[in-house]
């Protein structure tokens, strides 16, 4: 392993206590975990995916998965904030123009820029590949005026990747992704953030107004689909799934510790069954995550597209399966931990908090949108292709 990458893993392990210590307070206050994210910035971890020549660690999506899992075991909100940031960075690394990359990537690596994501929009809901608000050309600037109902860490981000319709007369499927600096925008917070879980993501709504120069477009104008398929979706589904898996695995580990601490008392068959079911769910997610990760990494190494039917189906299935199975595992573990040790806010094991956090997983890009897509795509893959053997 390269030296930069090895030290990123050391740094990631070193910040785990910081994440752990603030997790309960962050959840209670529903405020952005400034201290934890500052620790990630200082440790150079915001630049995990930034190439070494731009000052980063030069990590790949496999490294994202590994470290997101570690973070997810300590504070699900901080972990998701970081994983989503890395997802945005991957888009800039792979699709940013030379000028944008040279200016922005070193600042990301230095921890100066946390990148937030603006894809959801009021009129179209979660649909990723369409846009309502349009970029308006104005001299040599592109003007933005965009409602964003849910922006993780929007109040603390130094930069935003925003999807916009290409122009006022473009079809709503012609979407342009552009980078905007905080000081290129006037930001207005709209609405409160008081959700069931993932409270530390501080994902309140915003209105963004401002203008950016054309070199801040990421990918081709109107060509966001390619960025989404090759970068934003794979990095997102891999990173989020790793976070959820890390969280469920930690709860399982804590509950096992609790049952063991009961000493010689025999474990009932019912408890044993529940522990086994949680273990099965966690194992299934871990192995499928590894399989889809390897498929994506192999495509990237070979320089081939991720747009093929089977790969798209696998990436969608990963997100749906990870969101459902990790939540189901923690739900079952709540029953094992019981009222006093599991259900209470101040339980010794954070089952209650993680349960609330993981309930969001099925909504964080709605599973219904993915399953309806996957079911239709499956009709074009009668062979039911697993990860292509020739690729791995």
């Amino acid at each position: 392993m390269e030296e930069e990458l090895a030290s990123a893993y050391d740094a990631a392990r070193a910040v785990l206590p910081v994440l752990e210590d603030q997790a309960a307070d962050t959840d209670r206050s529903a405020e952005f975990p400034v201290k934890a994210v500052d620790a990630l910035r200082a440790a150079g971890l915001m630049g995990l995916l930034v190439p070494v020549e731009h000052g980063g660690s030069g990590g790949d999506l496999g490294d994202l998965v590994a470290i997101a899992g570690l973070f997810g075991s300590r504070c699900v909100s901080t972990a998701l904030i970081w994983a989503m940031h890395c997802q945005q960075v991957d888009c800039v690394v792979r699709f940013g123009g030379e000028r944008l990359r040279a200016g922005l990537l070193p600042r990301i690596a230095a921890g100066e820029v946390y990148l937030a994501s603006v894809t959801t929009e009021a009129g179209k809901g979660g649909h990723l590949l369409s846009g309502d608000a349009a970029l308006v050309g104005d001299g040599d600037q592109l003007r933005i005026d965009r409602q964003a109902p849910i922006v993780t860490g929007g109040g603390h981000a130094e930069g935003f990747l925003v999807t916009m319709r290409e122009s006022p007369d473009a079809d709503d499927h012609r979407v342009t992704l552009c980078y905007a600096e905080r000081d290129q925008l006037t930001l207005e917070t709209t609405g409160e953030w008081d959700p069931l879980g993932m409270r530390g993501t501080a994902s309140a709504g915003m209105r963004l107004r401002g203008a950016v120069p054309p070199h801040q477009v990421v990918g081709e104008p109107g060509g966001f689909r390619a960025v989404a398929v090759e970068s934003m979706i794979p990095a997102g589904h891999l990173g989020w799934s790793a976070v959820w898996l890390g969280a469920a695995r930690r709860v399982l580990s804590d509950v096992l510790g609790m049952v063991r601490a009961r000493g010689a008392e025999k474990v009932s068959d019912l408890t044993a069954d529940r522990l086994a079911r949680a273990r099965i769910d966690v194992e299934l997610v871990a192995s499928y995550l590894a399989s889809v990760r390897d498929e994506v990494l192999a495509h990237r190494r070979a320089g081939t597209s991720l747009a093929g039917m089977p790969t798209q189906i696998h990436l969608n299935n990963l997100k749906v399966a990870a969101s459902e199975l990790t939540f189901r595992a923690v739900d079952g573990l709540m029953q094992v931990a019981g009222l006093a040790k599991g259900y209470l806010r101040d339980s010794p094991i954070p089952v209650e908090r993680v349960f609330r956090d993981l309930r969001s997983a099925a909504l964080n890009y709605g599973n219904d949108r993915l399953t309806t897509m996957t079911g239709a795509l499956a009709l074009l893959d009668r062979d039911v292709t697993f990860a292509p053997a020739g690729l791995l």
Binding site: D171, H173, S305, G308, A376
Partner: protein, 83 residues
């Protein structure tokens, strides 16, 4: 009107699945730019198979086949010739 190398039946089916196409579909325009997304591809395949009485094998169900009207017609006409 410009000549197209494919029959009207093919052109009609194709046009129904391209929400952004205005008028006859040029052979070299990217179908994705004319609004063909992955779900549109699914229904396009099913209608081509049904109306033209062909079976498109899975190995042709790749992005290259659906790149332009010309690439899709090349694949379709091969299948028609073999039918």
């Amino acid at each position: 009107m410009s000549e197209t190398p494919w029959p009207a039946a093919f052109a009609d089916i194709l046009a129904r699945h391209l929400p952004l196409a205005e008028g006859p579909v040029p052979g070299d325009a990217a179908l994705s730019d004319l609004g063909l997304d992955s779900l549109g591809t699914v229904s396009l395949v099913m209608e081509l198979e049904d109306s033209l009485d062909i079976a498109i094998p899975d190995e042709l169900l790749v992005a290259e086949t659906f790149h332009t009207a010309a690439t899709l017609w090349a694949a379709t006409s091969d299948l028609l010739a073999r039918a």
